[in-house]
Assembly symmetry: D3
Homo-oligomer: 336 residues x 6
């Protein structure tokens, strides 16, 4: 079967155990993750072939990062090992009213310095059925943005479904271009877009109409008008009651219908990082597996909810484990 293929940076995440702070511990737990790679890993664990395309330094850190995703069944055969450093970030995990906190150290990574020519998209995508990318990739460097564009173009040529999590992070855009200038061309090539109202406003100047009955639908309509290739706009709506307690639901607009899922109560949260990526991984899996958009969307949100109960960036749930939660069984009764 052909692969779901993702492209983007994978970072090493270093976090104190439990709720310890960096100033008080000498012990860090390592995870490797990236907004797009997490989607590939999620899809692979759910049971569909997946590959991730990235660039790592040619050293033990690069090998460790690649092997971490290989472990979860993601094909890393297209990895380019060149450059100096692995991007990394430090995470302190909060609780109750204390927010989790990230210190990034990702500039000048091997990925940021990749050359577009290192990636032969025609070959890579020859085995693809879906391409997913996030707004973080074009934010990292001009060459990353260029590689992303080439991937999308090749996918379009081949009629491969393209999805994007637009995921606007202002701080990342530091190489001289603005997200507002770069993103439209990339998003224009997408069939599925994950986009919140905030992202839509920041990136595309799109705001829901004042009189909109449903603000998300209003935003999505405008987005689809601007980018006619888009067939689905999706998002999660997250209610953040505390660092330990969130409520999550999924929304989708397909140009005609608005669909939403029940809200899932998540308490306690074990690890919130990668929750959005698990949603997308679940949605892609659901779209390729279930007949209805409602099922795909609910599968995505159930997968995301479950991700919050798992350590690490990657959703380690199988399809058989997501299904009962998708069907509303959230009692967590012991399985013998």
């Amino acid at each position: 079967m052909k692969q779901v293929i993702t492209f983007g940076e994978i970072m090493m995440r270093l976090s104190p155990p439990l709720n310890y702070r960096l100033v008080q511990t000498n012990n860090l737990e390592v995870n490797y993750g990236g907004g797009d790679a997490n989607v590939a890993a999620s899809v692979a664990r759910l049971g569909l072939p997946a590959a991730h395309v990235t660039c790592f330094p040619d050293n033990e850190l690069g090998y460790a990062a690649a092997q971490s995703f290989q472990r979860y069944g993601v094909s890393m055969e297209h990895t380019v090992f060149r450059g100096d450093r692995l991007g990394l970030y430090f995470l302190e995990v909060g609780a109750s009213m204390r927010a989790s906190k990230i210190v990034y150290d990702r500039f000048d990574s091997a990925f940021a310095k990749l050359q577009p020519a290192w990636f032969d998209w025609s070959n890579i995508l020859s085995n693809g059925r879906w391409l997913h990318w996030t707004g973080i990739t074009p934010a990292i460097s001009a060459s990353a943005a260029q590689a992303c564009k080439e991937a999308i173009q090749e996918a379009r040529r081949r009629g491969i479904t393209v999805s994007a999590d637009v995921n606007y992070r202002r701080n990342l855009w530091q190489y001289g271009k603005k997200a507002q200038d770069v993103m439209p061309e990339l998003v224009a090539g997408c069939d599925v877009v994950v986009c919140t109202e905030g992202d839509a406003e920041d990136l595309f100047g799109i705001t829901p109409r004042v009189d909109a009955a449903n603000r998300f639908v209003s935003m999505a309509e405008q987005l689809m008008q601007r980018f006619p290739q888009i067939k689905q706009v999706i998002a999660t709506e997250r209610e953040t009651l505390s660092a330990s307690h969130n409520r999550l639901k999924g929304v989708l607009f397909n140009g005609t219908d608005y669909i939403e899922t029940p809200a899932y109560d998540i308490v306690p949260i074990v690890d919130r990082i990668g929750g959005g990526d698990a949603f997308i991984g679940g949605f892609i899996y659901g779209s390729l597996t279930y007949p209805t958009e409602q099922e795909a969307l609910t599968f995505g949100v159930a997968a995301s909810a479950l991700k919050h109960t798992v350590h690490g960036d990657v959703n380690l749930m199988t399809a058989a484990e997501v299904e009962p939660v998708m069907q509303g069984n959230t009692s967590g009764r012991l399985l013998r």
Copy 2:
């Protein structure tokens, strides 16, 4: 003082730390437990003499398992060290809507292959005041069922109170006999039976009368009619709000009166395994210590609630620690 004596298999439990999954960790925590042995350990820690009777392989794993219970003050002097392997199971601990999950690997254990003749019940029970067993033991093998029967018969001869947790697990019955054929003879010898409505239906075809005011009472009445030796039917009623939040109360029918306890809210759950065994251990202790059934039952449920806040299969609470909770003090205020 004479002992509370239990009989059954003890397994090694292997679980990833915290909420890690097996595919992502190289670290497993070991606990030893068994539905009956946990009762003995509970009773011993509460302060009454207790012994457990079992069979272990004659190797380091068997020694470790025996020593684990010896540590908690359970006499293991009747342990038979023979056979090849220790039964074991792997536990992934869930959270929120993610259920905890068990993978068993217990077939062909030393206990399953025991010979009834290895156990001299007359000698063993000469020091007994109470015998407890669970429905897991006769499910394991014909010889385990036979040994269990002999123990019950000897206890009856000696006038020792016999209790059983009928605990029906369909998957376990694989040696060619049905629970429905084996259990009645064993339960017939019991004074106290822990039995849910589901168990009663599955094992004995007993269902509450349609018009029953109290379904539990209706079931218990029929059970006591069928097995006249039974003097008390007890159970816990567990409301599973999530893997991290349960609500628990105890119920008892003694042929005349129905007694129930207040419900205890348990959030967060530290370790749910052994919660039922802690209830029984607490109830046995309570029955031997307190004048009223209400106290015995409430002590049992308070003990069980507290067990959920302790790691491992065994309830490590002393009587002095259970008492305030039994009396309704569930504020958890720091004790200096």
Copy 3:
């Protein structure tokens, strides 16, 4: 800038990881803390100069304890290294209805056996702007009480603000004097007093008037009448829903106005020890930084709430981290 100076014993705290009990673990986590030293550490981490004055045995344990506070930026330059042993205590961390439990082993510590003459308060306080002590110090030994008295007197001479957490612990007073005899003279020298209604009754025989609209105010008024130096009486009011869930607010009476803060819901509690000290540390910082008592008090309670989400006795939050919570942002939303 001049220092906030505290005086008192620092103990080694030994606790099993997570919710393990002492009988089941071979692993203890070490923290160093003391009711007054925690205040100094809190103030230092918030960004103001702080020093702690204490006495340690001249061995590796004393060095480790001193270095632990040095690490958090507390000046330990006045530490006296003399005597035999470091006071210590063992802590089992509860959950839900199970209370956390402390076993103290602090008698005959180096601090208990200090000589008042070892501390040259004139020199020590020459660099001070605030002196804080707790009712634990005069409880430990006659000489500790004497040293405390000398410190207060010197602070008064120098016009340095003096605060006390009266913190009455009956079990501690074992050297032949009663708290009721010792404390009044010491409290008489204080500008700010942390005192609950229970403490006021136990120590000073003060009870709120029967007809009092606000019991705390009534108690505080009487306290200020008795000890005219006092300008502010403060306290936290803690609602203990369970060992994992508390609700906290702060109250203050300044002779004229009663001020209170919103209540902060704390769930789950990561580590409750030092929560009161964090409140005082935050209040001192707030008093020295903010123009209004309301802000100082709210800052203190926000700091205390956050402390409950941090492992160890010491509040490791910076002022920038407390501020949003003080302003009501308790959503715990991930900070990138």
Copy 4:
């Protein structure tokens, strides 16, 4: 490039940390390994494509085991997920005069119960350049022996090099056939055989001639006479000074020449398990990479020596790390 393909059982290894014994720890470290799979992993990490063929239970343990080897770059695409249990063993690590000690629990594993028909060797080996197996596989069950035979036959048909580590373990042969009856037919199909003098005597009744100048050569000559397909007989000679200190050299006879390597002093030993497999993996890599048998053999021994300094069954050294040691640089000088 075509793959080095191995076939055999992978077990979960559970070992207490450091030199702890099973009776004193509640903590086990997990590794997955097997005599043949370790060779594949070794080859993959050295830089050549490798695949392992095996059978796992279709549960979290099987997934974890498969993913563990996937992580190291071994293709697990031919894994069959069927059956009930994963074989496992417990390892206590010795030191000085205390031997490391293994307790096996591997009977009735999914691998033991495999059906030969589950493996389509024609397809599997179509991508192979080398097939390796060990004497453990035919010892496990008749069906495993049959599958092994079919693999060898197919490899012969395709002209793929076949190597075997005859590795005789008396205790394993429990399914009714003797190694002496089963092994000859399998060894007859091999080009390279790892065989000690003890194995040769036990399995084939071959003993060095009394007057032999070199006992290994004498044994190897007879072995090659008996099995004319064999082109190389190799072995390591291990001097066991203590559990913490071994000395290792490699020997080879190719029908004409006897080759040996320098002896490598290994002190301290970090983990001895898999040392022999690392030798074979290194020798296969060396044979496929270096022009001379001397280099291949020395590479193999250097790889094995380095394996002893790495935790786990698998040799995690790259070719670039083995090369200096192969060239005699054993000073272990810090690499910046």
Copy 5:
């Protein structure tokens, strides 16, 4: 079978992991041990019934200490739970030229404050075959010395073998009596005495004769002359090459013959604490099991050597594990 009975204090030992120092770690490993209790545990694990008599505080620390020895099969039924604190010590483990270092915190322990009347030696020893004590016990307090004396007297009355490890530690004798005044009366009641030349000189003023061919024999002869009850004087001779490398042999004089064992090279040392106690435990076991003194002594030294490879104070080796080392097999070859 009757018990080997020991009497003395058990302390909690707290040590940083690996070679960490106290000032740099927040993690301590707990072991419980005592010079005499270690002997009982050693004997129990070797396979003979053993009991230890001691006094613990009636709190979680006392329970944990008692349960730790119960786990290893030592009967703790005579434990008295009274008093305030558990003695403890901190251990930093050295390596190479860095010595391991102990900080004691054992004064005023529950054991030090025991009342002799709490121990009914007639009852306790009614089940005894051997009584062992160490010179540490009478050093702790006058009442401990008195209890020790009463135990010896009762053992003499019953014809039970008495052994003592005189083990002189100057720093411990702080209650107003000198070892030189107390010990002779106690040693006079012993059949077997563990005594080095240094101890003999310090305690009894006995020095080997200047012209002695064998200094140990000369010392032992004088000791036996002074205390005619003594039948055997034994000791280990330890060559301390470094903190990681010792060499050990055993010596014995029985009034007629001098016996010594081969020297055992121990490198690396895993944990040196309890090495002497393991020797005594092994010697007692050997004396009760083997026909010759040579065997008993060699068993003792082999047991001691093995103890150095095991973490914790207690020798966790079974008789079957000591035997090969006793017979000279120190190669540490892997046992499958």
Copy 6:
């Protein structure tokens, strides 16, 4: 007393536990260290006032690094918190013939981007008695080299002793200047220089005379001729037998006399990083404390040998602990 002051970068070191490799672990241990800061920490722990001057990013990582040294008693009051990232490196610890391996990730650190003007050397050194720097500092960036030069000049002006560890690392010099151009001017200002023959040749083109009786002396003579301010040239001579076993001695030439120390055998090595810095810290302490150069040098080497037995970059030995080793007591006998 005035301070020993050091200047340079502090990095976060991340290393897998024990001998694990990065590709196989999810757990990293954190230490903070730097060639010069380690000297300050060493001096502080030995008992003399010390301060370190550096630049950290203004985030949790910078605070943690600063606090780590504060903990060991190093004054960090001159730390500048500015810039983006903390330099870091990953360390895999080898054993036997496997070398330890470092992956650096230190470019563009906050320290590399410091502005010389941020450091007011006149103020900083007003409290100094000794200034120490290493050749790593001027290698990092032009501005770091400039700051280093200004510090040396100010020290010269104030008559403060200046020492340098020239420590040439070719890979580090990447900002456009060569070490050979930058270092001479800096070394010219030094009184004490740590320099190996290799460094002397690489940096200054100085080679021992062909006919030199003592190559070190010949090199040192030429060095002192070139830089007349130098009064002592010192070095350690390290024999690397394996990653686990080194032999170390110290050498010194003072223009007249050649002094050397006995060689110290270090086996096993616990942590080799910082061994050279411990030598310098010990030598500085020795020079300020002992009357003779022989004592200072031997103290330095003994300190360095002991450092190898301690985890982390920093030598955690007190003067009282170094002294016996300095005097030749390397038996590592247990200290009670």
